[in-house]
């Protein structure tokens, strides 16, 4: 039996600093930061008052009036990304192909933004426990159930294959692409729109991370607040965004002459079984996930060209994953360029894993590794090559990305250039 392989043939991105694939790539390769003081509401009452917001125009993104009315912001991001990815892939499906084309999208907090806005109305500013159901908006149920994310994208593109939402907190974006990859390998689908979306910049989310001091309080200098791997880091910067990739069975892509960014060479996940928010300093489970993902692609540590780090900018994370890379990659860990684009586009919870996979696909495509911005002071416990501040032109044949999330989830994914395809 021929082993089915998954390739990436389209990329769509909505990220802070640019609501399109090309503008996203320009932002992160120029090392520009898109973090700023929160503008969606007055953040003065909160410890962390900064975020990486998207300047997103749903009309310009081509959303229909009905989509703009019914879909919460994170779903609108996904609709824009999926349209961009499908166009990028030049994907035109026959009716029969639509039956074997699915949607797997991740989100960490789903419709929280709409749920909170509506809550304020129906509870009369938090005064009523027994909220006034009659005052709720018409799409409140769509906000309650995050399955709306996959449903709306399936509806937009007329896809009748398996549709689901994956919600494993901050690894959702990697896991969704991983599950989609498994559906293709297992023969359950030939094409899957896979990715993730989150729009958590809402008072309740900001307050939640304030309560555990996970986010950066560097309100005086928002542009430099996200400082992964820097000794002077103070937590992550909340963000929003989305990315959707067109995943396709390799033969399906070849037969239609599609442009291929790269192959999904491996995906693995482990849980640390340790703490809902704490990480084991030894990086054991993330290391195991990395090793498993590489093994699936029969890739040796020395072959890894680039690592897209989780790099959230919390001290425990940066040390945890530095240890994980050493554990899984040995001496090669010291040679491989590692960067965290969260330094520029912040941490969009479930979405960022997919945005980082989009960056990996583009790093392979263009032979450029995005930098870790805002890096100035070395942390003795973070002694690898974090590509400080400036992008680097290097051929990227194998890109590894990792994610780590509340609940103890640790995921890893490997993208590989297809043999015979050279950088653009």
């Amino acid at each position: 039996m021929i082993r089915r392989r998954t390739v990436v043939t389209g990329v769509g991105v909505v990220a802070p600093g640019g609501a399109s694939r090309d503008r996203f790539w320009k932002t992160i390769t120029e090392g520009r930061t898109a973090t700023r003081r929160i503008s969606f509401f007055d953040p003065s009452a909160f410890r962390s008052q900064i975020a990486a917001e998207c300047d997103f125009d749903p009309v310009a993104a081509g959303l229909t009036e009905a989509e703009r009315r019914r879909a919460d912001r994170y779903v609108q991001f996904a609709l824009a990304c999926s349209a961009e990815a499908v166009a990028d892939a030049g994907l035109v499906l026959t009716d029969a192909e639509r039956d074997r084309a699915g949607v797997v999208l991740g989100t960490a907090v789903g419709g929280t933004m709409a749920l909170e806005q509506e809550y304020v109305t129906v509870s009369e500013n938090g005064r009523r426990w027994l909220v006034d159901a009659a005052r709720g908006g018409p799409y409140l149920y769509q906000a309650l159930v995050p399955s709306s994310l996959a449903a709306d994208v399936a509806c937009r593109h007329g896809l009748h294959g398996p549709a689901q939402v994956v919600s494993t907190g901050c690894t959702s974006g990697i896991d969704a692409i991983g599950y989609a990859h498994q559906l293709i390998v297992d023969g359950e689908a030939d094409v899957v729109l896979a990715g993730a979306a989150d729009s958590p910049i809402s008072p309740v989310t900001v307050a939640s991370f304030d309560a555990i001091k996970a986010t950066s309080p560097d309100n005086d200098d928002p542009a430099h607040a996200s400082r992964p791997f820097d000794a002077d880091r103070h937590g992550f910067v909340l963000a929003e965004g989305a990315a959707v990739l067109v995943l396709e069975e390799a033969g399906h892509a070849r037969r239609r002459g599609a442009h291929v960014y790269c192959e999904v060479a491996g995906y693995a996940s482990r849980s640390n079984g340790y703490h809902m928010t704490g990480l084991r300093p030894d990086g054991l489970e993330m290391g195991l996930a990395v090793s498993d993902a590489l093994k699936q692609g029969r890739i040796a540590p020395e072959q890894v060209s680039y690592i897209s780090a989780h790099g959230s900018g919390t001290r425990q994370n940066d040390r945890h994953e530095t240890a994980a890379f050493k554990r899984a990659l040995g001496q090669a860990a010291y040679r491989i360029p590692i960067s965290s684009i969260k330094s520029m586009v912040g941490h969009s919870l479930g979405a960022i894993g997919s945005i980082e996979m989009a960056a990996c696909a583009m790093a392979i495509e263009f032979g450029v590794v995005p930098p870790t911005a805002n890096w100035s002071t070395r942390d003795p416990e973070c002694d690898l090559d974090y590509v400080p501040n400036e992008a680097r032109e290097v051929p990227v044949d194998v890109a590894l990305s990792v994610g780590s999330g509340f609940g103890g989830f640790q995921s890893a994914m490997v993208f590989r250039r297809l043999p015979g395809v050279v950088a653009a």
């Binding site: 009452a45 039956d99 699915g102 907090v109 749920l115 509870s123 500013n125 938090g126 005064r127 426990w129 027994l130 909220v131 006034d132 159901a133 709720g136 799409y139 409140l140 149920y141 309650l144 159930v145 399955s147 709306s148 449903a151 399936a154 509806c155 593109h157 009748h160 294959g161 398996p162 549709a163 689901q164 939402v165 994956v166 919600s167 494993t168 907190g169 599950y179 498994q182 008072p203 309740v204 307050a207 939640s208 991370f209 309560a211 555990i212 996970a214 693995a268 482990r270 849980s271 640390n272 079984g273 703490h275 809902m276 928010t277 489970e285 195991l288 999330g405 509340f406 609940g407 103890g408």
Partner: protein
Amino acid sequence: MVTGIGVVAPTGVGADAHWRAVLAGTRRTGPITLFDPAGYPTRFGGEVPDFTADSYADSRQLVQTDRWTHLGFAATRLALADAGLPDRAPDPYGYAVTLASSSGGNLFGQRELQRLWGGASRTVGAYQSIAWFYAASVGQLSIHHQFKGPSGVLVAETAGGLDSLAHAARAVRRGTPVVIAGATECPLSPYALACQLRSGLLSDVADPERAYRPFDAAASGYLPAEGGAVFVVEELGHALARGARIYGEVSGWGATHDAAHTTADSAGDPAQYARAMRLALDRAGVAAAGIDVVLPDALGVARYDRSEAEALRAVFADRPPPVTTQKPLTGRAHQGGSALDVATALLAFAHDTLPASAGPDEVADGCELDFLREHRRPRSRLALVCARGFDGFNSALVLRGAAPVRGETS
């Protein structure tokens, strides 16, 4: 293979309690007591009776989690005990947990929203960030039971309960010998109910006996419920090596999407729904005629009931198997409800009894199916469990029941 069943549902706590209620056809929907529902058009639902969360988790775990997770703690412990597995995984990387969740920690989340917006300080508690989000239950379970293999959380509204079992079966094939799967839900907070009312699918009939009547001429929508079921899905060799009791096999699965929204006049796409059923049958290598019993989605909304009947007729043509639904007894616990149907099917084979359907009394036009009117013995021991989710999700599972164990001491 399914080797453990944990039920925490309006029918009771534990698989035995559930089965007794199913056999007796005891309706367990009633007035919502988790809050005062007097001001809402839907005032009835299915709650888990006499649920004592502190029997299944310690106070530290309970304080940082929502009731939905408490139900998950209980269902998981019951499933592990039923499977004869220890509370802590002996081989952590060989154990994983993938549950479905439709709406996260509703009661916890609403309390924190109230504190944030109605309280004196604009703050939430330290546990909001880990209690409300959809991965809360799986994260907690993974930590408590030391399930360190590839875990996950799926959302496909009601259909996701079946998807989680399909995902577990895939994970077993990929090399994780034990995967905990299924779903629990607790959508019974004032705000979550307000959200659900906007779906237009809830029943406002003010009599719990008559409010949720799928396939009946008097169908008026459904009643919401909490609870669900969690399973131990185990690789066959692993189960045999430890002499585990096997309930049955997750033999086939299929999932499709209508690519159309749920609206005031939508009814779902029977062609796509039928395709999900056929995919499950094909994967199981089973002909439609071989199916012993069907557990349908049974939404209780006339136009959806008719389209479900149409999908079943499309698959089974002139040889329809008996159809049985127990959802009217419990209400719909969304993804937990479809998981509960899987428990009912597996228990039916274990007890060698296909349970009679809880209605319809007067079959609605277009819903003429072979509803099982009396308990009867299984024949082929193959069940088709079907579920649909709001906004176009369709899923189906084929379960192959093991022969009942004779002379089992109880």
